[in-house]
């Protein structure tokens, strides 16, 4: 008998692990363990059956899990989970536009009226499973005229499972009551009552139950009885398509890189194809291995705060939208051949812009500004040239370290409130009273200029820098600072204010300089000149 309204639930068991294995299918046949948590206290959060048979258990430490020699250990990757979830949604949307995004690992679909497209409910369920499998995910699918029943059965049984109308209660009765996801308080009450299964809950008298535990109890009672009817909360289809790949060992040859790029492009094309969309542009962001620390043995780089991981971007604007993965791969290869990343690649982030145009309208009262996306793109382009962390606005850091600042990304600065203005005004007044003498401006050299300094009785006597030498007439200092001893990169510096007579090609020149001696590097630098 055909069903009037029919729902399907799609559940990805062991989602955390599947999100990783999706882009690395070879891992499925190995004992695989996923760890998570703040370093250094990683714990096992997911593992496959092969690992379980070896003795791996949840909450084991990384150290304990690594004692099993054959086990492959991967860190949990939330970005890949997001991508897997997005892919799962694309599968669902390729079947029906009526999809509820119930949880990262669970989707609910309205599959009523799809018989003419896919066949009966069993065939629809199989089609969903097959499409998910094509996206690299193994899923449980259950169909029922009751959406909650479908959700719970999908979580419990591998499927595809079709729950005939009127048989919902029978399917649910042996399942633990915890599968209904009661609130912690109600779960505690059920535990005290000895109500362990859906059957036990469904057999409680409804009126008395409502008196005891209120509406949540009534709702769960209805679900346990297979009567929990509710409409779907439909999800809005996303326009953003992104895939990630993180490598354990960085790759630096184009062939290996092409293989991975091809894999990601195939995944993206499949997703867009499922949504009947095409690719208008591709943005690939590579995170590079910081492998050149020793190669840049210059004073400039040594003075930098520990460099963050560098990135390399490759953008591809297409004249006409396409879903041809091979063509896209070729274009990318060409681009990379002409502009190689310059370092082994650790992470690839690939974003596809779909062919649908973006429609936005600005406010009437705000002056025209560049499109934020375009501005971001422009900044990204500049950053690719001048280096990450070198674009933005400088901001002073709260540190005793001289000249400590970092470059912050540009952002719209709100007009400061009058209160804070008053405060800073007061502060500056106080300071000006104490520092009554006029302040001299220091013209800082960034990066500082390496120098050689000769001492006499612990004080600088002569200096050499920029190919010039100078005699120190007067030295004031040292102004000693040190800190960050708890970090791997502590600092220790003696600053000197020097009055110097510089000899040069023309006449001798007398100036005031700030010099510094880096105690850890045993090197001198010119920090700046007083204007």
């Amino acid at each position: 008998m055909p069903l009037a309204v029919l729902f399907a639930a799609v559940y990805v068991p062991n989602f955390i692990l599947q999100a990783i294995a999706r882009s690395e299918p070879e891992l499925r046949t190995q004992p695989l363990v996923i760890i998570d948590g703040p370093p250094p206290t990683y714990q096992v959060v997911a593992f496959n059956r092969i690992a379980e048979l070896l003795g791996v258990a949840r909450s084991m430490t990384k150290a304990a899990a690594s004692q099993f020699a054959q086990v492959t250990i991967r860190s949990r990757c939330r970005i890949r989970e997001e991508a897997a979830h997005a892919a799962l949604l694309d599968v669902a949307w390729s079947i029906t536009p009526r999809v509820e995004d119930a949880a990262p690992d669970t989707l609910l679909l309205d599959i009523s009226g799809l018989a003419s497209l896919f066949g009966n409910e069993n065939e629809i369920a199989r089609e969903i499973a097959a499409r998910a499998s094509a996206f690299g995910m193994s899923v449980h699918v259950a169909a029922s005229s009751n959406v909650e029943t479908a959700r719970i059965v999908a979580r419990a049984l591998p499927g595809p499972t079709i729950v005939p109308q009127g048989q919902e209660r029978r399917f649910l009765e042996t399942l633990p009551v915890g599968m209904l996801s009661p609130s912690p308080e109600l779960a505690d009450v059920f535990d005290r009552w000895g109500v362990a299964t859906c059957k036990a809950l469904a057999s409680l008298p409804l009126l008395s139950l409502s008196e005891c535990v209120g509406q949540e109890g009534v709702r769960l009672h209805a679900i346990a009885s297979g009567k929990g009817m509710r409409p779907l909360l439909l999800a809005e289809p996303a326009q953003h398509f992104e895939e990630w790949f993180e490598l354990d060992e960085a790759v630096d040859d184009l062939e290996s890189l092409s293989f991975l790029l091809g894999r990601l492009l195939d995944q993206l094309c499949a997703r867009l194809s499922a949504r009947a969309l095409s690719i208008a542009a591709i943005h690939v962001n590579f995170k590079l291995q910081p492998a050149f620390d020793n190669a840049f043995d210059t004073s400039r780089d040594l003075l930098r705060v520990k460099s963050s991981a560098r990135t390399f971007t490759c953008n591809l604007e297409l004249p006409a939208p396409t879903r041809d993965g091979k063509l896209l791969l070729k274009l990318l290869r060409l681009r990379l051949q002409s502009h190689p990343p310059g370092a082994p690649i650790q992470t690839i982030q690939m974003t596809a812009q779909s062919s649908l145009a973006r429609v936005t309208q600005g406010s009437l009262f705000i002056p025209t500004a560049p499109d934020p996306d375009k501005l971001e793109l422009t900044i990204a382009r500049i950053a690719a040239v001048v280096g990450e962390g070198n674009v933005g606005a400088p901001q002073l850091l709260d540190s005793n370290r001289p000249d400590a600042f970092h470059v912050q990304n540009f952002s719209m600065v709100a007009v400061a409130s009058s209160g804070s203005n008053n405060h800073s005004k007061k502060e500056s007044e106080t300071n000006s009273r104490y520092h009554a003498s006029p302040t001299i401006a220091l013209h800082a050299f960034r990066p500082p200029v390496p120098a050689r300094v000769q001492l006499q009785g612990n004080k600088p006597a002569s200096v050499f820098f920029h190919g010039r030498s100078g005699k120190v007439i007067h030295a004031s200092g040292p102004w000693r600072t040190s800190g960050d001893w708890w970090e791997e990169t502590p600092w220790q510096e003696d600053a000197w204010d020097l009055e110097i007579v510089l000899s040069g090609e023309s006449s001798p020149e007398q100036s005031f300089y700030r010099f510094s001696y880096d105690g850890l590097l045993d090197k001198w630098f010119v920090r700046g000149v007083y204007d």
Binding site: R192, G194, C212, D398, N400, W479, R480, S482, G483
Partner: protein, 1048 residues
Amino acid sequence: MYIELHARSAFSFLGGSSSPEELARACATLGMPSMALLDRDGLYGAPQFYLAANKLGVRAHIGAEISCVVGWRYPLLVTSSEGYKNLCRLITRMKLRAAKGEGAIEAHELEHRSGGLICLTGGEEGPLAHALRSGGKEAARATLERLCAIFGRENVYVELQRHFSIEEERRNQVAVELARSMRLPLLATNSVSHATPAQREIMDVFTCLRRHRVLANAGRLLSCNSERYLKSPLQMAALFADLPEAIANTTELASRLQFTLKDLGYKFPTYPTPNGESQMEYLRQRTQEGMVHRYGTQNDRAHLQIQRELSVIEKLDLPGYFLIVWDIIRFCREQNILVQGRGSAANSAVCYSLGITAVDPVGMNLLFERFLSEERGEWPDIDLDLPSGDQRERAIQYVYERYGKLGAAMTANVITYRGKSAAREIGKVLSFDPETLNRLASLVSAWEYTDSNDTLTRQFKDAGLDLSNHRIHKFFELCQKVQNLPRHLGQHSGGMVVCQGQLDSVVPLEPATMPGRVVVQWDKEDCADMGIIKIDLLGLGMMAVLEESIQLIRAHHKEEIDLGHLPQDDPAVYTALQRADTIGLFQVESRAQVSCLPRLRPKCFYDIVVQVAIIRPGPIVGKMVHPYLNRRLGREPAESLHPSLESTLARTLGVPLFQEQLLRIAMIAAGFSGGEAEELRRAFGFKRSEARMKDIEIKLRRGMESKGITGEPQNKIVRAITSFALYGFPESHAASFALIAYASAFLKCHYLAAFTTAMLNNQPMGFYQPATLIKDAQRHGLKFKPIDITCSQWECTIGEASENFPVRIGLRYVKGLRKETALQILAQRHLQPFASIEDLKQRAPQLQKDELRVLASIGSLNFISNKMRAHRRSALWQVERAGRPAGELFEPYLRTENSDPSSLLSPLEPMNDEERLVADFHGTGLTTGRHPMAHHRAQLSRHKVVPASRLAALRDGALVRVAGAVIVRQRPGTAKGFVFLSLEDETGIANIIITPQLFEKDHTTVVHNSFLIIKGTLQNQDGVISVKAALIKPLHLSRAAAPAHDFY
């Protein structure tokens, strides 16, 4: 020459990172003749600094940095006794009016207390810098003028500090200019906050803790460099080469600081005698009265001893002290508070006669000189044991009332950074997340014991932490460095000091966290070092148990028990002790005691004294336990360590067990004088004794060599003496404890219901959990009734004699039930019994839903309706209904319905045995029903598991399987990595020994499982039964388990 006159120690509580001793040592090493310690708002570190400096030949100047309400701190130096008194009173005044840890003076308060004090202008936190910051040079000039007006022009020094900071140098330039124009002297200081540059890291950590930051975001609050360390005179002279007078003035100022802590001016109060007689006369009268009561009129030996003691007391002018202690005892007796003196006072027949102690030193031949001797010239030490809780508080409040708020105070207890606290706080400032912090903190306990395989690197690796990680390595390093540095000031558990006149002029006082309490800024050791007399009023859980037992016996058995007159040779007591049937008994119930009792087999009171003293780290590490037991069992001759020591050690079969014996050995074998022996005694009882013991060891060896004692005998004697530093008892103290142990055994053997009830009502105390106490009492035939809302009281109570005194568990055992709620329930029940759960909820509105749920789940609501008995689940069903108000409209209807017994019916199934057991343990931590193991005995027997009670009947060496609930896990530091478990089943307790290798292999199983099944070899040695484990498996029988008492 330069003298450092501005230094802070770690006693500035997060304002300095070196101990006063470290500073004194650094000062001596640098060749400075003197140094001043100026801790923040207190003289906390002054005694330690003074003593350490004295030993090193350095003169210790005293002072403090005093916070002012306006935000700066005055560095003040003491020149004379008057200055010291002023400083103490200034600190006391500001501390007592503020909350604990806070307080500041008003600037005008200095005007009345400036005599004998010298004021420095300070560094960045001083008044001068503050004035410069807020109002420039003119404000700074005004500040200096004000200071001159308060302290006098000759007592104000303009302080200059150079830490290589440009801001500081700017300030210095203004300061020099002002000083010159106002003709004030300049003074160079380094505002030291750590002894060495490396300690700056700890200083930064402390800054973060003080400012509630982490290192990553503390920014400019941290030190900008490591320059605030104690610099040598040469370094300082070089720094101030342009201002030599600033250096020269340090010596000039130091010569003006004449005061040292030697001139403290402390006097013990005089006891006001009622008829104007002298204190000595009054003491003689009281002692005479007591002597007649204790010894009768015919005991010449006692009479002679008392006369001898009285003459010593008179010579040392101590009658006031004895009368004051006697006065406290008299107050306790009048108020029916059980009290007993312990410690060396039990050596004194005068104390025995005055009722201060209960041990007869004449009968036991105890050495009076251990208590009081003419040559030592030191105040005697009397500790009083009182029932813990309210009774002790009454005694303390009496002392406050008697001597006034400023005449009596508790001694402080300096809480220092220890393993876990250090790990937590340092982890926090290093920004470790809570989970990592927990892991690190849990690792810390393991550091206390390490063997060669159990390296720290491995422990860290096992916990998933990598020591090669810079931050984790730093964490470990900092944890080691911060150990033993003071963290905050607590209150000693019972030490009180009293003073004739004003105690606040001797040592600053401050409020304790507990309302109505005042503490001095020094701990008991500092007080003793400074010659301040302390009386310890200690709370002892067992005293409270004894007191409550006596009351219960009076009420239920209609018998009066006088602990002073218990039959001394009760056979039941000795049988129980010999069988190690000692659960719940004072001092002899621990696992180690239990495995010693069947070997020692106590037959008389003195054997109990030995038993109490022998299981201590001192005798254990000193390897005295086995020789003593072997000699007792006749397996080896009772030879002394050296022929000259025979008479000293005769009573303990040639093995030294008591502190007195060790002192006597030092005197006989190494020729120690009375004073040196006294120094040794102090080192025994001293927390900071390690260094002292090393010095003493050198003296001992030298002394013995001069007497011809060399080689192994010398080593044995040294080992015996030095190991006592780890903790050993004086004989008199052991005798006092043995009395209490005997009394507890007597009450348990003859009045089990009263004793068990009192034990349950005074938890937590002792070695075992209430669940174990109940099972033990049940095995001795006592009946227990579960918690019942219709008849349980807050405390556990005893039932009718006709039912053989069953014990009803009190509501105090319901987990999560607040006492005030329980009292409200009892008050309502007293007015009228409850008709239903709804009725209970209505009439006890404080009752929370969670409390009701626990009450229902443990079956305490089963009998609430007198019409029909409910089961636990039906009560739980009702509780959920009662907890959800129906609203005004339906309320009357529901009330009628609830009076109907059928409303107690529920659709839920009753709990089965296992579920009831789990609910009992979750809701109360115990069960009055069958032991969890009893439910599975048939199954266990099929697996050849032997019940604990049958182990004694098996032969030594037999292979056995035992199983039970883990009630104790121990890994004592003295046991070389061995782990001891106690497994309880329904028949008794099986003792398990686990080798370090097996523990390493099965660590998780042993530590994380509540029930274990163990296969191993039975060891039956001299009646001590244990199983040496070979195979350990978890036993998944029940979710019901009481927490084990873990020490590892």
